[in-house]
Amino acid sequence: MRTNDVMLQTATKVVTFIILMFAVHIFFAGHYTPGGGFVGGLLTTSAIVLLMLAFDVKTVKKILPINYVIMTAVGLLIAIATAAASIIFDVPFFTHAYDYFDLPLFGKTSLHSAMLFDAGVYLVVVGVTMTIIQTIGEDE
């Protein structure tokens, strides 16, 4: 039985972007206010899951042609590379650095290498949760 869920799909089209924006916000805000890579990742996943519920796994795969296992691997790589980069500057493993820059459009902004590490966490969380949900969802 194929039901016609126009309302759900239409709402999803709007809501997904709101959730994604919120996820990105939470991710970037993590260093100063509650949030961070982990929650941001989970929220991103929930946006994709909402898409899967409204449409179906195949469609979502078509619009988001991402291999989540590779995404996980890239995330882990970024995390370990950020941690290891400190060795080049002859400081102990996992030493972070930060400074303030004048960026166009943003103005005076603090850039922190911990953000890169958090990005790794973000990618891993999205990758793993999506791997799990997709694998189980496709299972017969």
Partner: protein, 804 residues
């Protein structure tokens, strides 16, 4: 010359044995092997002049210097005597085995490799001055003996015998290691010579008796003393050259060597004397008594070996008495060690030849059953002559060397009655009596062995093969040994000067300092002393009993089979095997529930026990925060949903209630001002509830019976116990904060050092980013695990196919 490396010559030669066996098929491998013991024998024989003047040779090789472990070859009279026995009889046995083992049918490469390994091990045992290397070689003799007994490994009896000897000798070996370690602790050195030097101080140490008993256990198991002799008769499944070499002349004497070597240390103790002399003498009697029960030629010889080893052991025990008597060098106790070594040599000669005779009889007639044999005298005259010489020497008849050592044995045993320490004056009279009875039985079984095999009626129809004389090559070794038996009788004092007296100095250093001090002259005629009458009595009573043997030998069959030591051993093995099995089956139920019960019970017992024993429980209500209204409400919700999980009838309810628990915890996080945790908890709880629902949806339809969880009292008690335990621990630890928290540091430095505002996140990615790194690795692994479980599983059909 560093002769310590000569110990390893046989094992190095063994490396080439398989090569020679494969490449030189036309020549019997034994001929190549023969070279090794001959070279060694000649080398050791050249050292005789040195030791007979009291000289000692030391050669060492550092093995683990930091632990004081070295391989030290120390040659004095005692070790040289044993080395000569090992290499000399080794050479004869190899020669004999060349004719005994067929080069086409037998796996000679195995045989000679094991044999050479054994030779190295034995040489190592007798020459080692370092306790640890002595133990190393000692276990190597056990292992090579195990391999040699199981040489015909397709036979059940061989494997059984090999395992039995392994179990018993390794048990003794491990006990001995314990004794050695205690000695090492007491003396602070592993060197035997240094231990002997400080023997007087060690006697009062509290470990002394322990070390003594443990080392004696090692010696008794190896030398087949009562009640550990039971492996020796079963070891007779080995090829006869092995029995002749290991189980009569060399390995079983390793225990005697050990006792002799440690006599200077332990002689001061009455326990040592009683144990060694008492157990030895009892073994002598027991072995000789049961030798007559045996039907198999080699079994008779095995029991005879047990008995003779007991005899030597008791003499070594008596030699310790010399320590306690002033002017012992003038009394009869000076004889004991001399008699022990003398009989040890004699036994090696006659028992070696007798085993080879038994092998010849087996080889030429096809059976070793004494009931089928008889009348071989005319068919195998040379073998008979050798057997007669060996047996008469064993029985103690003149003019054979056994007569001389048996006389000295009786002298030593008689003298024990005069010894008035350690309540010997009360019980000492038993010693000559048991010795005499044992000697009578020795006399009978010696005659039984030779006459029931070679005299009487020939029964050709009972024999699998047509009996005939053995080839000359097989007869050389036993004939040579038989010749020695005779020669030693006529020149006992030369043998004494060359070999025995230097050895006696090693055993009784408290009596003599140089071999020349040993003032003993062996003579065949003592005059009309008590031992002469005893010998005469042995001959008369023994002769009479042997004459009427057929009348009373059947009495042996009346002995119950159920109460033997063999049966005890079998039951012990069965019990330890089956019992251990049953014991582990008792608690290894295979149900995860049982294992959880064990784990939680032990958790409760250990934690609560520690809490009570250390009196660690305390409640301090001083720095508690006030309880707010919302906290109580959420707590009630939490308790309510927890109870719902336990009491719910349907699984769906339980899952929903679990979700409620998760969300209430998220609310707690909100109240306790942990926004990051609250966020994460909310999302994670949602995902896990969804996964639960997924699992719930896929339950198989068949067993889909909705029912309430059954109440089990045991589970309830354990659950309650764990809850109480954890609560008590939490209360106590909260009340006894030893150190202030480090969170103040984070608060102060979060902006200045780390450039952030969210402490939680900064801790996660900066202060303690290491943890996060590995947590995301854990996540990644979980994801990969789920992929492999779902995507890569084999279909059920394929799995079945594989199993078929």
């Amino acid at each position: 010359m560093s002769f310590v490396f000569l110990i390893f010559l046989p094992i190095l030669a063994a490396l080439f044995v398989p090569l020679l066996f494969k490449k030189m098929r036309q020549i019997h491998t034994g001929w190549f092997v023969l070279i090794v013991p001959v070279i060694l024998f000649v080398y050791y024989a050249m050292l005789v002049p040195t030791t007979s003047e009291g000289g000692q040779l030391v050669s060492s090789f550092q093995w683990i210097p930091s632990l004081d472990i070295a391989i030290v070859a120390y040659i004095d009279g005692l070790s040289l005597l044993f080395s000569l026995l090992i290499t000399g009889i080794g050479a004869l046995v190899v020669l004999y085995s060349i004719f005994y083992l067929d080069k086409n049918r037998e796996q000679l490469h195995n045989f000679y490799v094991y044999l050479m390994m054994f030779m190295t091990a034995m040489l190592g045992v007798v020459q080692s001055d370092n306790l640890i290397s002595l133990y190393f070689f000692w276990e190597l003799t056990s292992i090579s003996s195990f391999l040699l007994i199981g040489y015909w490994y397709t036979r059940d009896r061989s494997r059984f015998g090999a395992l039995k000897s392994m179990m018993i000798t390794v048990f003794g070996g491990l006990m001995m290691l314990g004794g050695f370690v205690l000695l090492g602790i007491m003396g602070n050195t592993y060197s035997i010579r240094e231990l002997i030097a400080q023997a007087p101080e060690m006697a009062s140490h509290s470990f002394f008796t322990w070390a003594l008993i443990l080392i004696l256990l090692g010696a008794f198991t190896k030398s087949a003393q009562f009640p550990f002799y039971i492996w020796l008769p079963d070891a007779m499944e080995a090829p006869t050259p092995v029995s002749a070499y290991l189980h009569s002349a060399t390995m079983v004497k390793a225990g005697l060597y050990l006792v002799a070597r440690f006599t200077p240390i332990f002689a001061v103790s009455g326990t040592w004397m009683w144990l060694v002399a008492g157990v030895g003498l009892f073994t002598m009697f027991w072995g000789s008594f049961f030798a007559l029960k045996q039907k198999d030629l080699k079994a008779i010889l095995a029991f005879s070996t047990v008995s003779q080893l007991g005899l030597i052991m008791s003499l070594l025990g008596a030699s310790a008495a010399g320590y306690h008597i002033g002017g012992a060098a003038d009394t009869v106790f000076k004889y004991a060690a001399f008699a022990a070594i003398f009989h040890l040599i004699n036994h090696a000669t006659f028992k070696g030849s007798l085993f080879m005779v038994a092998g010849i009889v087996d080889h030429e007639t096809g059976t070793r059953d004494i009931r089928k044999l008889g009348g071989l005298m005319g068919l195998m005259p040379i073998t008979f002559t050798i057997a007669m010489i060996g047996s008469f020497s064993m029985a103690g008849l003149p003019p054979f060397n056994g007569f001389l050592s048996k006389e000295m044995f009786l002298t030593a045993m008689l003298s024990l009655t005069e010894f008035n320490l350690f309540s010997m004056d009360v019980w000492g009279v038993l010693f000559p009596v048991i010795a005499w009875i044992g000697s009578v039985f020795t006399f009978i079984y010696s005659f039984f062995f030779v006459f029931h095999t070679f005299a009487g009626k020939h029964k050709p129809d009972l024999l699998p093969k047509k009996a005939h004389e053995a080839p000359i090559g097989m007869l050389v070794s036993p004939a040579f040994l038989a010749l020695l038996v005779l020669v030693i009788f006529f020149i006992p004092n030369q043998v004494g000067d060359w070999l025995i007296k230097p050895a006696v100095v090693a055993i009784q250093p408290f009596l003599y300092t140089a071999p020349a001090d040993v003032n003993i002259h062996v003579s065949a005629w003592h005059g009309l002393q008590p031992e002469f009458w005893m010998t005469l009595g042995i001959f008369l009573v023994g002769g009479l009993l042997f004459w009427k043997l057929h009348k009373w030998q059947r009495a042996y069959d009346r002995f119950p089979d159920n109460f033997t030591l063999n049966r005890l051993y079998d039951n012990l093995m069965y019990l330890s095997d089956g019992g251990a099995n049953r014991f582990s089956a008792l608690y290894m139920t295979g149900f995860i529930r049982s294992y959880l019960v064990y784990m939680f019970s032990f958790l409760i017992i250990i934690v609560l026990g520690a809490l009570v024993l250390n009196d660690a429980f305390s409640i301090n209500l001083n720095n508690l925060a006030p309880v707010g209204f919302y906290e109580i409400v959420i707590l009630l919700a939490l308790i309510g949903s927890t109870v719902t999980i336990l009491a719910s009838k349907s699984r769906l309810t339980a899952i929903i209630a679990l979700g409620a628990v998760g969300y209430s915890i998220a609310l707690f996080f909100v109240i306790f001002r942990a926004p990051d945790l609250a966020l994460t908890q909310l999302v994670i709880e949602t995902i896990s509830v969804a996964l639960f629902l997924l699992a719930f949806y896929h339950l198989p339809q068949l067993s889909l019976k909705e029912e309430r969880m059954k109440f089990k009292l045991g589970n309830a008690i354990i659950a309650l116990g764990v809850g109480v335990t954890v609560t008590l621990v939490a209360l106590s630890s909260h009340s006894q904060k030893a150190l202030p928290s480090i969170s103040q540091f984070y608060k102060e430095t979060v902006y200045s050092e780390a450039g952030g505002g969210n402490i939680v996140n900064v801790i996660l990615v900066d202060y303690r980013g290491f943890d996060t790194l590995f947590e995301i690795a854990v996540l990644g692994i979980a994801g990969i695990g789920i992929i492999t479980m779902i995507k890569l599983r084999l279909s059920k059909k394929e799995g079945q196919h594989e199993n078929q």
